[in-house]
């Protein structure tokens, strides 16, 4: 090779992987070093209890965090009591595990409590170039910061806590390019839904997705988090976006940001020109309209201005039956019973501002139940300082304490069987928000507009 070392162009994901790969066994599985762990009450207590029973230590308690978000109540003035049957036990088990192993916990009424993925970003638990795991499938939200983030199961959590590593085969890579500039009424949520609608709910086929392109470069950090969040619904193993200036300034403002900041190191977290990806997909963001789902998979989506499409097969027929919709019905004429703004997908401050813009000076249609659940205490505080809580309340929305809330049904709160809900969450699966609940996924602006009109609606033209 004449002494010159050829420089192989490398993807961002490969660079992140390389930084954390301890070794790769003959069987193709790697041991990946995990810098940070964050766990919630739904599974954290079980994993910590299992470790205690094995008489194992948490290998690096300084890197492990606990947060109460999944089954905690969101009523103002809440305590440990939950509407979720047994929920209090889950909270108690996490608290006990955290105390036993000396882990920092963001407890029910901690000033920094919130949905784990928001807390990770707000606190600087997730940073560019770090690896992070959480026993929740939307952990890849943090790829928006240039973090190598994986959602894991409970047994894997135990393994990470005991060994600081994750056993994982390296996924294939996929570059998803969102070209062009989206219309002003189109958000990251709409682009994510359109992507899933175009390529399918398993479109990423377990690959590590890197989002790139003009539309991604133009997005704020929060919108990138929404996009990466929905990569799970795209069938991705994880997602990343190369961290740029705005990401660096946002992570540097967090309490756990390193001083001095390794800015030079972070700025190398990019895909080299010419790097090889195993798969590619492209979408023209300029052509996308605000989206809403009509079925029971995120891939069952269409423009809010379109009609319910004719079913393509048995799955779509089943979805239409569950959703009680007829093909050909204009989506904008579909009456709703409830509106939900919340979840790790769309409950950051920008989401609340966007909904509040639609709601300002207006009222939710008679008979529509409407709920806004900020994603974290920080979001809640900022919103309240800006008077957004008043906008929501004046419009007829309930204003809640942070948590996952009605993003999923765990036996507690639900809008009720047969109710049709427009929701900023990420899953419209059968019964996801409660037995028989019919969920339509959409952006915060579409949810707010629908709440005001009493039927699925587009936000006003801007």
């Amino acid at each position: 090779m004449n002494g010159s070392v050829p420089i192989v162009p490398t993807t961002l994901f490969d660079k992140l992987w390389e930084r954390h790969c301890v070794e790769t066994a003959d069987d193709g599985e790697s041991l990946l070093y995990v810098d940070r762990v964050i766990m919630h009450e739904r599974t954290g207590g079980i994993a910590l209890d299992a470790l205690a029973r094995r008489r194992r230590a948490v290998r690096r308690p300084d890197q492990a965090f606990c947060v109460v978000d999944h089954v905690v109540d969101t009523e103002p003035g809440r305590g440990d009591a939950t509407r979720v049957p047994g929920g209090t036990d889950f909270i108690a088990a996490l608290r006990q595990g955290a105390a036993a192993f000396g882990l920092r916990i963001f407890d029910v009424n901690d000033d920094d409590q919130g949905i784990s993925h928001l807390v990770s970003a707000e606190q600087g638990i997730a940073l560019p170039g770090l690896s992070l795991v959480c026993p929740d499938s939307h952990t890849c939200t943090l790829g928006a910061l240039g973090t190598l983030a994986f959602g894991i199961g409970t047994s894997e959590l135990e393994h990470v806590l005991a060994t600081s590593t994750l056993r994982i085969a390296k996924p294939a890579t996929m570059r998803v390019v969102l070209n062009g500039r989206p219309r002003l009424d189109v958000t990251a949520k709409d682009l994510a839904l359109k992507l899933i609608g175009t390529f399918g709910a398993a479109g990423a086929a377990g690959a590590a997705v890197e989002f790139a392109g003009q539309a991604v470069a133009d997005m704020g950090v929060e919108e990138r988090m929404t996009l990466c969040n929905m990569a799970t619904e795209f069938g991705a193993a994880t997602a990343v976006v190369a961290p740029d200036e705005q990401v660096l300034s946002s992570v540097l403002a967090t309490p756990m940001a390193p001083v001095p900041a390794p800015v030079a190191e972070w700025s190398r977290l990019v895909t080299d020109p010419g790097a090889h990806f195993d798969h590619r997909a492209e979408l023209d963001a300029a052509q996308v309209e605000p989206q809403v789902t009509w079925g029971t998979s995120p891939e069952h989506c269409a423009s809010v201005h379109a009609a319910v499409p004719p079913p393509s097969g048995a799955a779509a027929r089943r979805a239409l039956a569950y959703m009680a919709l007829e093909p050909g019905t204009p989506l904008r004429s579909v009456p709703i019973d409830a509106a939900f703004i919340g979840s790790c997908t769309n409950a950051r401050i920008g989401d609340l501002r966007s909904a509040a813009t639609v709601l300002a000076g207006r009222r939710v249609a008679p008979g529509v139940a409407a709920l806004c659940v900020p994603g974290s205490r920080r979001v809640q505080r900022t919103a309240e300082a800006e008077g957004l809580d008043e906008v929501f309340r004046a419009a007829g929305f309930e204003w809640r304490e942070p948590g996952c809330s009605m993003c999923f049904f765990a036996g507690g709160e639900t809008f009720g069987s047969g109710k049709r809900v427009v929701s900023t969450t990420n899953r419209n699966f059968e019964n996801r928000q409660g037995p028989g609940v019919r969920t339509h996924l959409a952006s915060p602006a579409v949810v707010a507009a629908s709440a005001v009109h009493g039927h699925i609606a587009a936000p006003d033209p801007v």
Binding site: V22, D27, G28, T43, D62, T165, F429, N431, G436
Partner: protein, 206 residues
């Protein structure tokens, strides 16, 4: 963990696409801080008339007498998509499922299966349908035999090859425990960590 080498059993088909973990075990069926007590909640929304663990729906395939004792689940594309909840795998295991045959799986679900000794066997949809059709004719008699050593499923005709990662195969064949396996690599992990902290001190929280 109980090793899995060759497994014969009654198959049960649930061929719809995108069966998610909420469908496998609705979160409301997870009532205790425990890995057990989940079998009754398996597919609760479909298995019971009222969706609650009360009256079994006699029409639902898992409740059919001819499927009694089923241990091999035949599924559709993107099986086990959705949340990371390991309760879904614990519920399947408690019900008696050892093998899930489907074209592909949710990535976290697949790993959770292996961690609990369940085999996620990847087989193209057309072949899943053929296995199901043969089983349908006489489920109790037409048992499938899953051979993890040869990575093949025997139904009526030629054995059907299935896809499983090498790592998962070895782990299942030997019934290995992940933490014990990794403990053998403790020195490598310590060395890697020391290097990482030296090269990038900011990684380490004070």
């Amino acid at each position: 963990m109980v090793p899995l080498t060759v497994h014969s059993g009654v198959a049960v088909p649930l061929l719809r696409a995108n069966v998610d973990t909420d469908a496998i075990i609705p979160s409301r069926e997870v009532r205790r801080v425990s890995r057990t007590g989940l079998g009754d909640g398996l597919f609760a929304n479909w298995r019971y008339v009222d969706g609650q663990t009360g009256r079994p729906d006699p029409e639902f395939v898992l409740n059919r007498p001819e499927r009694a004792g089923a241990s091999i689940l035949l599924g559709g594309p993107n099986f086990g998509c959705g949340s990371s909840r390991e309760y879904a795998v614990w519920a399947l295991a408690e019900f008696g499922i050892r093998v899930i045959v489907a074209p592909d799986f949710g990535p976290i679900f697949r790993k959770n299966c292996v961690a609990n000794g369940l085999l996620p066997a990847g087989v193209p949809m057309a072949a899943v349908r053929e296995l199901a059709a043969w089983s349908d004719r006489d489920p109790q008699h037409n048992r499938l035999t899953v051979d993890l050593v040869a990575a093949r499923i025997k139904g009526a005709g030629e054995p059907v090859p299935f896809d499983v990662s090498r790592a998962a195969r070895i782990r299942l064949l030997r019934g290995l425990d992940d933490i014990a396996m990794t403990d053998c690599r403790a020195a490598a992990i310590d060395a890697f960590e020391a290097e990482r902290f030296a090269a990038e001190p900011w990684v380490r929280l004070p």
